[in-house]
C-alpha cells in the first residue's frame, strides 16, 4: 500500500476526468521521460540500458552463438533477472514468458540464418536493476534498443552448404560485423492503464494503484498485433478498483496504439542514431 485512502480517491478522481489529469502533467498518450544508452558492453554483440526518471533501470545484453539450426528448438533465448524475485516466481516467469513468446512468434528468424545448416542463436539477458511500475514495457523497449544495435560477425564462407558441408568462418574484423537487418524493427510491448473511459499510456506506479484494469498490447511493423493481454498491473498490492474490461476499450486501445506507437519507435530510433554520433567521443557509461 503506497497510497493512503484519501490519496487513492483523489488520484482516481483526477484520472477518470475527461481528459484525465495525470500526475506529472502527462497527457494520456505520453510516456514518462527516459534516458537510454546503447552498445556499451564491450563483450556483447548488442547492449542497451534505459533509465526512467523514477529510478527504474533495465540493462539488456544480446550475445550470439553459431548453432546447427536443426539442433535448436528456438533461435532466441531470453533470460530475465529481477532483484528481489526468485527466478521461478510468477512475476519473473510471466515477464519471461511474455517477452520470449513475443520474440519467438514475431522475430523474423530468417535474419539469423547463416547457411542451410547453420544459424546464429541469440541470447537475450535482461537485468531489471530497479523498477516501480510493471516493468514489461521497460524491458521490451530496452530489448528493442539492444536488438536494434546488435551486430553479428560477418560470414566469409559459402552460404550454400546444402550438398557439401562447410564450416562457417567469419571475418575477424569486428567493424565488419553487420546489424541484424537494416529494416528490422523488433516487436515491443506497450502497457496501457484503463480507468473509466480513459486509456493511459505507460502508467506510473501510483497510477497503477487506482486503475480499473491494465492492458498490454504488442506492436510490430507499424501495427498492433496479438497477443493483447489484460492484467492487474499493480502486482504488489491488491487493487480494490479492479473490475471487468469494457470490450469497446480494446478496440479503442488498438486504435490509440496504432496512432501513437510509430512515434515511440521513431523516438527510439532517433536515440540510437544520436548514440552512434556520440560513439567516438565517449563509449562508456560508467
Amino acid at each position: 500500500m503506497i497510497l493512503s485512502p484519501a490519496e487513492r480517491a483523489y488520484l482516481y478522481e483526477s484520472l477518470v476526468q475527461k481528459p484525465a489529469i495525470r500526475p506529472g502533467a502527462r497527457s494520456d498518450h505520453q510516456f514518462r521521460p527516459l534516458e537510454a544508452k546503447t552498445g556499451f558492453l564491450p563483450n556483447s554483440n548488442g547492449s542497451a540500458r534505459i533509465r526512467l526518471n523514477d529510478g527504474s533501470e533495465c540493462i539488456i545484453s544480446v550475445k550470439s552463438k553459431v548453432v546447427v539450426t536443426r539442433g535448436e528448438s528456438s533461435l532466441i533465448e531470453v533470460d530475465i533477472d529481477v532483484p528481489g524475485f526468485r527466478d521461478d516466481s510468477n512475476f519473473v516467469s510471466n515477464l519471461k514468458f511474455s517477452l520470449t513468446n513475443l520474440l519467438i512468434t514475431k522475430f523474423p528468424v530468417e535474419y539469423l540464418r547463416l547457411t542451410s545448416k547453420y544459424s546464429f542463436k541469440l541470447f537475450i539477458d535482461c537485468i531489471v536493476i530497479s523498477h516501480s511500475s510493471y516493468p514489461l514495457s521497460l524491458i521490451s523497449l530496452t530489448s528493442y534498443l539492444a536488438l536494434k544495435t546488435t551486430r553479428l560477425p560477418l560470414l566469409t564462407s559459402e552460404v550454400n552448404d546444402e550438398e557439401i558441408e562447410e564450416q562457417p568462418t567469419f571475418s575477424d574484423d569486428w567493424d565488419n560485423a553487420k546489424y541484424i537487418h537494416p529494416t528490422f524493427q523488433p516487436p515491443i510491448f506497450i502497457t496501457l492503464g484503463v480507468i473509466g473511459e480513459n486509456l493511459l499510456f505507460d502508467p506510473s506506479i501510483e497510477e497503477e494503484q487506482v486503475l480499473e484494469n491494465g492492458l498490454i498490447l504488442s506492436f510490430y511493423k507499424d501495427k498492433v498485433i496479438t497477443p493483447i493481454i489484460n492484467m492487474n498491473l499493480a502486482t504488489n498490492s491488491n487493487n480494490s478498483n479492479f473490475k471487468g474490461l469494457n470490450q469497446k476499450l480494446i478496440i479503442q486501445s488498438i486504435n490509440l496504439c496504432n496512432k501513437y506507437c510509430p512515434a515511440i519507435i521513431k523516438a527510439l530510433d532517433t536515440l540510437i542514431e544520436q548514440d552512434d554520433e556520440n560513439d567516438d567521443t565517449d563509449n562508456h557509461i560508467f
Binding site: 564491450p42 563483450n43 556483447s44 554483440n45 550470439s64 552463438k65 553459431v66 547453420y118 553479428l152 560477425p153 564462407s157 559459402e158 552448404d161 546444402e162 550438398e163 557439401i164 558441408e165 562447410e166 564450416q167 562457417p168 568462418t169 567469419f170 571475418s171 575477424d172 574484423d173 569486428w174 567493424d175 560485423a177 563509449n283 562508456h284
Partner: protein, 991 residues
Amino acid sequence: MISQRKRLSSGLSVTSKVFVRSRNGKALKIVREHYLRNDIPCYSEACNKCHEIIKPDANGELPKFILSKDPNKLKDGSKHYIILDTNIILHTIDLLENIQCFYDVIIPQTVLEEVKNRSIPIYQRLRGLVKSEDKRFVVFHNEFNESTYINRLKNESINDRNDRAIRKVASWYNTHLNDNNNSHENIKIILLCNDKDNRLKANSEGINALSLLEYIDLLPNGEDLRDLIPADSNTFNDFNKDNETSFPEYYSDARIMAGIKNGTLYQGILNISQYNFLQGTVQVPAFKKPLLIIGSKNLNRAFNSDSVIVELLPKDKWREPSYTIIEETSLGADDNAEDADSIGDDDISGTNGVVSDKERLLLAQEAINATNAQSEERRLQPTAKIVGITRRSWRYYVGQIAPTSVIGEDSGNSSKSCFVILMDKLLPKIRIRTRKSKEYLGQRIVISVDSWPSNSRYPNGHFVRSLGEIESAEAETEALLLEHDVEYRPFAKNVLDCLPIEGDNWVVPDLKQTDDPQLKKRIDLRDKLVCSIDPPNCVDIDDALHAKRLSNGNYEVGVHIADVTHFVKPNTALDQEGASRGTSVYLVDKRIDMLPMLLGTNLCSLKPYVDRFAFSVIWELDEDANIINVNFMKSVIKSREAFSYERAQLRIDDKSQTDELTDSMRVLLKLSKKLKQQRLDAGALNLASPEVKVHMDSETSDPNEVEIKKLLETNSLVEEFMLLANISVARKIYDAYPQTAMLRRHAPPPATNFELLNEMLNARKPGMSISLESSKALADSLDRCEDPNDSYFNTLLRIMSTRCMMAAEYFPSGSFGYPEFKHYGLAVDIYTHFTSPIRRYCDVVAHRQLAGAIGYENLDLSHRDKNKMELIVKNINRRHRNAQFAGRASIEYYVGQVMRNNESVHEGYVIKCFNNGIVVLVPKFGIEGLIKLELLGDVNTADYNEDKFELKFTDLNGNKRIVGVFDKVLVDVKSVKDEISGKRKAQLLLK
C-alpha cells in the same frame, strides 16, 4: 574498434582491442585489454636516450643493446639499419641467415607475430637469428610501446593497419636516432618491403622504403647476392602465361573443416611410393589399409610427407596398386614428357560434378568394407584425390641442375629458368631462375621451394647455395646431412657460453670440503675397479662397468654412465640445442655431435685414470644373474682402463692374466651370457640387417674396402649390461613419474605387414611361414626357416622380416597403457634409453628423471608436463630416424665409391618382383638395386606371374629364364653415375 587510452600510472597506459575469433565454426567477439609502456628501448648502441628509460626485467637484468654503433655501409657509404616487413622474412629467410648480408636488423613485433601465424618453422629460424646475436637482429616491441602503437582506423583492414604500424616503427626509429641524439653520424633507416603500394605510402611519409632487389643492388657485394633472391609471383610469369597445365584448386578451409568433421574428407601424411613417383598412399585411421593416390592430378601438387586432406574417388576408379616402376628421373630427361597419368583429364572432370555429402558417406562405408574384406576383393584399394594441404614439408633440398634444361648460349647477365633434379627421387623437379646455370652445372646445389601455383606443372624455387662438385666427399656429406635435416652447423656462441669456464682444465671438485649440497649427495666410488669397453679409438665414452664378488656369494655389478646432466642444466641454450639435435649422427668419416666436443670427449667422457662424475646403477646379482637389489646414485668414479672390444676379449681369453680387473671382467662376461640366455628364452628377436663397415685408408681417407660387421663376445657383454641398466632405470622412473617417464617401446608388427612376405614364402618356399602370435613364436619360426641348400637364406629372411617390423619409438609413459609399453624386439615389458646421454637426448631426460626419482634434485617442469614431453619425444623420434637414414646414406655413398674401382660379379638375392623389373640384394655390399626389364631381356616376352612372384622372360642371349622372389642370382655389380640426378648408384646386371 579501439577505444582510447587511459593512463594507469606513469609509463603504463591501457587500451582495448575488439575482434572476432572464428574457430571451429564459432564466432566469438573478443575484447582484450592492451597495455602500453614507455620503457622499451631502441636497442641501438648509438642511442644516448634509451639508457635512461630502461628498467630491469623480472630477473633483474637490463635489456642488451645489440644494434651496432657502426653498422654496415651501403655502396654510397651511408650507415644503415634495416627494418623488415613480413613478406620479406617469409620469402627470404635463407638470405637473412646468409652471413654476407643483413646485419643490424630490426624486426617489429607486428612482423614477428605475422610470421608466427604464417609459418612456425620460419618463425623459429627468425627467433634463432635474434637469439644468437651474431647478426645483430632485434625484436622491437612496437605494439607495447606508447609511441609506436597505433589504433586501427575505421574500415581499415588488419593488413593495412599492420603495414601502417610497421611504417610507424620506421619513422619512429628515424626521428629517435637521428634527431637530437647527436653523438653519432646519422644512421639511415631502411624499410624493406616487397609490397609496392606500401612502399609508395612509406616514401610519401618520408620513410626510406626499398624492395629487396633495390636494396641488394645498393649493397657493395650486391652482385654476388642477386641469385639468392627467391622467386616471387612475378618471376615465372613467362611460364605461367601459357598455362602448361592446371591442377584443381584446393578446397576452402571452411569446407575442409566441415568435411573432416562429417567424415567425408580425411587427413593424413602422403607417402610417395618408392618405385613410382606418381603413386602415393595416405594412411587414414578410418581405414585399415592406406588410400591410394594415383596420378599427378590426384596428387595435386603435394610433396612426399606433406600433411594432406584427401577425398575418396568413386568406386569405379578404385584400383589395385600399380606393379609398374616409374621414376621421375627417367621421365625428367625429356622436359616435354607427357604426364604418365594414366587416369587422364576427363576422369577428373567427371568427379567435379557436385557429389553430396550423403553420397560420400555411403562411399566411405564401402571403402571401409573393402579395406576389411578378405581374399578375392582384397586387392582392390580405394583411391582418393588430394583436395588440400594442411602443412607443407618444404625444407632445403639438395639437387643438381638438369643439363638438358640449360638452354643454349650464355646471353650475358639475364637470369634464366632451369630445372633442378632433387636427390630425393620421390620429389618432383623444381624450376629455379639463375644467371649462373652453366656455372652450377655438375655441382650439388641447395635450393628452397617457394610456391606451386595451380597453373604450373612444376614447383618454383630459388637457388640457396652450392655445396661443391658432385661426388666430392665434402659436397656429398653435406648434401646428405641437409637431406636428412641434420643440424651440422657449429654450436652457436650462446650455447658454448653454457659450458664450464674452466674448459678442458675442469676437474672434479673436492667432495669433502664443499658447501654445495648436491656435491655432498654424491657417492665416492673411486675405489671400485671400473673399466670401459668401447669400439677402438672411441673418444666419447658413455659407459663404464665394474663387478665384484660379495661375501654372500652374490655379485655386485655396477654400470656407470657419464653424468651429462651435471653440465647440461634444463632450459639453458645448451639444453635446447641438445634437445633440438636429439641425437649425435655417425657418418662413415664424420660425427655430428649432439653436445659440444668439450663435454662429449672430455668432461663427460669416462676417460681412464681421471676422476669423473657419473650416474651409477649398482645391482646385487645372484649366480644366475637375477636381480636381488638395485641402487641408483650420482657418483664420482675413476676408470682404471679403457679397452677396445678386441683388447678386452684378448685380456679375458689370456689365461695368464689373473689380476682383479681381468677377473671382474670375466665375472661380467659370465653374467652377461646368462642375461642374454634369459632374454632369448623370453623371446627376444635376433633380426638382421645387412650392416657393413667401410674401411678407410687412414692416409688419404679414401674408402678402400667394405666389410660386414663382426661381433665379439665383449660387444654383447657391454650390450647386456646396458640393456639391464635401461630396464632398471625405466622401472624406477615409471614408478616415480607414471605420466611423463621417458620410455621406449617397440610395438608388435601388425599381421598385415607380414602378409606379403608370408604369401611369398607360401608361393616360393612351401612349408615355411612366419608366425606372429608372439615375439617368441616369431623368433622360433624364423629359426625354423632354413634352406638346406642355401645357408644365407635364413639371414635374408631375417633382413626382410626386419623391414616388416614397426620402428621402436620414444614416448612419455602417459601416452600408452602399461601393456603397450612392451618392447617387442627385446621381449621386455618396459624399456628406456639411459646409457648414452652424450649422444642421445632421451638419455638426458631419463637422467634428470632418475635424479628426481632418487631425490638428488628437483625435476624440471618441462619433464613433468605431459604436453611438453610429447613435443620432446616427437622431435627425438624424428631426429633418431633421420640420423639412422643419414648414417645409412653415408655408407651407401662410400660403398658406391669403393665399387667404382672394382666391378665384379657377386651373389645376390631377388627380394621383390615387378612386372617390369626385379629388386636384387647383394649381401656382400649390403646394397640393393633395381634391374629393369629392358636390362634383363626382351620386354615383349616378359610375363609376370603374380601368384608365384616370378617373372618369365627371354634374356638378351635368347635363353628363356624365370626369376622369382628368394632366388639366388649372380649379378654383375658396378657403380654408375646417373647423369641426370648426379647420384652414383649400384648398377646391377643379371648374369
